[in-house]
């Protein structure tokens, strides 16, 4: 599946805007992403391993928090996972 990386996190993945991973669930995809790019871990997860409250994940256009299986939801190669952190700029 393809994981879209938002601008604020691109510096931790060599400037790339998307990364392809092989995974069968959302959790696996995230663990593969942070295994290959360990610096991302602290930006996405708390020390307890919980997704940070100001980072949202979307499987295709659905908020993962509202999927029945949440992060255990099965994914296929054609799916996309978007990481959407909050941004506040406007000035």
């Amino acid at each position: 599946m393809t994981i879209f990386i938002p601008t604020p996190l691109r510096s931790y993945v060599d400037g790339r805007d998307a990364i392809d991973v092989n995974a069968s669930t959302i959790a696996e995809a995230l663990s593969e992403l942070t295994r290959t790019h360990p610096e991302l871990r602290q930006h996405l997860f708390t020390v307890e391993g919980k997704l940070r409250a100001f980072v949202n994940l979307y499987l295709n256009d659905e908020d993962v928090r509202y999927l029945p299986g949440k992060e255990a939801t099965a994914v296929s190669a054609g799916d996309t996972l978007s990481i959407i952190p909050s941004i506040a700029g406007g000035d």
């Binding site: 938002p6 601008t7 604020p8 510096s11 931790y12 805007d17 610096e39 930006h43 940070r52 409250a53 100001f54 949202n56 979307y58 256009d61 659905e62 908020d63 509202y66 978007s82 959407i84 952190p85 909050s86 941004i87 506040a88 700029g89 406007g90 000035d91």
Partner: protein
């Protein structure tokens, strides 16, 4: 349904001038006479007259909005002009409110501009917002974003949201009766310093133009009650790849402000909510365990020939614009390049404004460096207080 349920008979009449000015609207079936009269009756508040607020207010004024409130306390700076198109070179140093009001009334003399020369706060937000039908959030910081959201939910006013960072933008419509609010999307703000502001991270000048115009479009649609507003949808713009995407947003039944059993029923302390602790003069010399040194003190120590291991954690392109003799190790490279920083000597870290270098100083301290200091104010302070030839940016 239009956002205001005013009966068509109670709407203001269009003048002869209005009829010629808005003729391209009047021939659109979706606007027409009634829609234009709704726009004339509408009262819209723009929070901020900067990057997002400039195109937003400009287009709303052009479209024939009757009353436009502006909230800002800032003055125009040269670095604003790359994107804040409502201000001109001659306005540098003027209040943004005065500069914006002048341009808006020049564009549309019939517009009623209301200037709120203040920083929106928990003490004044409800009082200011309650006078308007719709609020457009063009602010630039998390505390104000949560404040605007909560005030809109409490007052039942739609919050037309836009936010930008570098090449990326987000837009949505929050706090309508049936739709989600900003807190449904992001229940909590990031800790201070983790998400850089536009001043630290930069922003492509055109981006607030794109996003601000989307906000203006949503405001107008809400007033007309036409089309499909961005309620329950988050529109993402990636200007670098010129990609637009849309995500579904849901109203969170457990949302602390708009949920079924809200715990936030009045405005709170948003600085505290966002983890921002007010500094007292005594505390400002040590921040999170990191001594803050002034540029004057740094200059004195360099001149006195003291051992100063000065590390510049900005990016190479910033270094090209201005530098003060520090060793360049961009912030993201620091973890891999610790071997280049001598643990035995005191480390003095600087950046453009002192924010990034503070985080790196904290990181170095955690990594076992015993003596680490941060240059308060960074390059900007150096340019102001020591050497104006050092270019500010």
């Amino acid at each position: 349904m239009p956002i205001t349920t005013t009966e068509p008979t109670a709407l203001p009449e269009l003048t002869t001038d209005d009829l010629s000015r808005y003729s391209r609207h009047l021939i659109l079936p979706e606007v027409g006479m009634e829609g234009q009269r709704r726009l004339k009756a509408a009262r819209v508040l723009c929070v901020g007259t900067g990057g997002l607020g400039s195109p937003l207010a400009f287009y709303l004024a052009a479209a024939g909005i009757g009353t436009l409130g502006l909230v800002d306390f800032d003055v125009v700076d040269a670095s604003n002009l790359q994107r804040q198109i409502i201000h001109s070179t001659k306005d540098i140093g003027r209040k943004k409110l005065d500069s914006a009001a002048e341009k808006l009334t020049a564009l549309n003399p019939a517009l009623n501009v209301v200037k709120h020369d203040t920083m929106l706060s928990s003490a004044n937000a409800l009082e200011i917002l309650k006078e308007y039908d719709i609020v457009a959030d063009g602010t630039d910081n998390f505390p104000t974003r949560y404040l605007v959201n909560d005030a809109c939910v409490l007052l039942g006013k739609p919050n037309v949201y836009g936010s930008i960072f570098r090449f990326e933008g987000q837009a949505s419509v929050f706090a309508t009766e049936q739709g989600p609010c900003y807190r449904c999307l992001y229940p909590e703000p990031p800790p201070p310093g983790l998400v850089p502001s536009c001043a630290e991270g930069g922003v492509l000048g055109i981006l607030p133009g794109l996003v601000g115009v989307m906000q203006a479009t949503e405001v107008i649609k809400l007033i007309l009650g036409k089309g499909e507003p961005l309620i329950g949808r988050l529109l993402l713009v990636d200007a670098l790849n010129m990609r637009f995407r849309e995500l579904k947003l849901r109203k969170n039944p457990e949302c602390p402000v708009c949920g079924t059993n809200p715990t936030v029923t009045q405005l709170i302390d948003y600085q505290q909510f966002c983890g921002i602790v007010p500094e007292t003069p005594q505390e400002s010399s040590v921040k999170n365990g990191i001594p803050q040194i002034t540029v004057k003190e740094l200059k004195r120590r360099i001149d006195a020939g003291e051992d100063v291991q000065l590390i510049d954690v900005r990016e190479p392109y910033e270094y090209q614009i201005a530098q003060i003799g520090g060793k360049l190790i961009p912030q993201n490279d620091v973890p891999q390049r610790l071997a280049e920083i001598d643990r035995e000597r005191e480390v003095v870290v600087h950046c453009r404004s002192g924010a990034r270098s503070q985080r790196i100083a904290e990181f170095l301290k955690q990594s076992g460096y015993p003596r680490v200091a941060n240059v308060a104010g960074g390059i900007l302070a150096w340019s102001d207080e020591i050497d104006p030839r050092v270019q500010k940016y």
